[in-house]
């Protein structure tokens, strides 16, 4: 039996997403495919697989990424699906614990990559918000001058939406920034 779930996880909520996938696995539902906000599960044994989520440096279709994915396959880590640069991996629980990173340095590198992506998206939203505010302000000016006969409230609306998205992602990704600080501190003392 195939189960499909639709869920939205913000880019900054990757830890929650991974946790959710493992909670589903504990219930016996094993992820077999992903789409945009769409998760497809097959029925299996409880905790049959351990799931990990990774943000790659490039799209999974590039040569470097494919080499990495192939290497992982050789050590028993299977790619279940991908979305943009996010790749969903799983490994059989019987083969022992599964984590992609075993030292601070490599974990830190991964978190930095995720943090950068979050900052990009926040930045783009803020830029879009500013653009839209300008359009709105201009439309007010031209309306007052009698050149336009309505004010572009839609631009204001979009601007507010963008600011909302930026703020939302900023808040949700606070856990990422917190972990980054922790790792950086740890990195100064040990590996």
């Amino acid at each position: 039996m195939i189960h499909t779930a639709y869920k939205v996880f913000s880019v900054g909520a990757f830890e929650k997403e991974e946790q959710w996938l493992n909670e589903m696995s504990a219930k016996g539902l094993q992820l077999i495919d992903v789409g945009i906000c769409k998760y497809v599960f097959a029925e299996g044994q409880p905790r049959e697989y351990v799931y990990r989520l990774e943000l790659l440096e490039d799209l999974p279709s590039t040569a470097e990424s494919m080499e990495y994915i192939q290497f992982l396959k050789e050590v028993g880590v299977e790619k279940v699906g991908s979305f943009f640069r996010w790749v969903y991996f799983r490994k059989k629980a019987t083969e022992g614990s599964f984590d992609l990173y075993s030292d601070i340095d490599s974990r830190l590198k991964h978190y930095k990559r995720i943090n950068l992506l979050c900052n990009w998206i926040i930045g783009m939203n803020l830029a879009a918000a500013i653009f839209n505010l300008f359009f709105f302000a201009d439309s007010m000016k031209y309306f007052k001058m009698g050149i336009l006969n309505t004010v572009n409230y839609s631009n204001l609306g979009i601007s507010i939406f963008n600011i909302g998205v930026a703020a939302g992602i900023f808040l949700i990704s606070s856990s990422i920034r917190r972990k980054l600080k922790e790792f950086q501190k740890e990195h100064e003392i040990r590996e």
């Binding site: 290497f71 992982l72 050789e74 050590v75 614990s97 075993s102 030292d103 340095d105 490599s106 590996e191």
Partner: protein, 104 residues
């Protein structure tokens, strides 16, 4: 780049395990065995370390006969030098530790 920089535990053990040709999974096994289960390399960390060491010329990939065979790696002369330098550093650390703390 100075040779006085310490190797991480993972890199040191990977280099040691590659005195014989091994593929990825073999490296993971060998390191776990050598460290009696204390050091368990995760796949992502291992891949990153291998890529960096190849760039630095400390290890090399062996030409694989068929596409189906898993890629094998082995240490280079430069890699052997790194291990020997590291051994000296570790010996110094151990000697000083024992002088101050006594035999542990």
């Amino acid at each position: 780049m100075s040779d006085n920089i310490a190797l991480t535990e993972a890199v040191y053990y990977i280099l040691l395990s590659l005195y014989q040709p091994l593929h990825g999974y073999g490296i993971m096994q060998k390191v776990t065995d050598m460290s009696s289960g204390r050091v368990n390399l995760a796949a992502g960390t291992l891949y990153g370390a291998i890529s960096t060491m190849m760039e630095k010329g400390w290890i090399e990939a062996l030409p694989s006969e068929e596409k189906a065979r898993k890629k094998e790696y082995q240490i280079t002369d430069q890699g052997r030098n790194m291990v020997e330098t590291e051994l000296n550093r570790l010996a110094e650390l151990l000697e000083n530790g024992r002088k101050i703390v006594g035999r542990v």
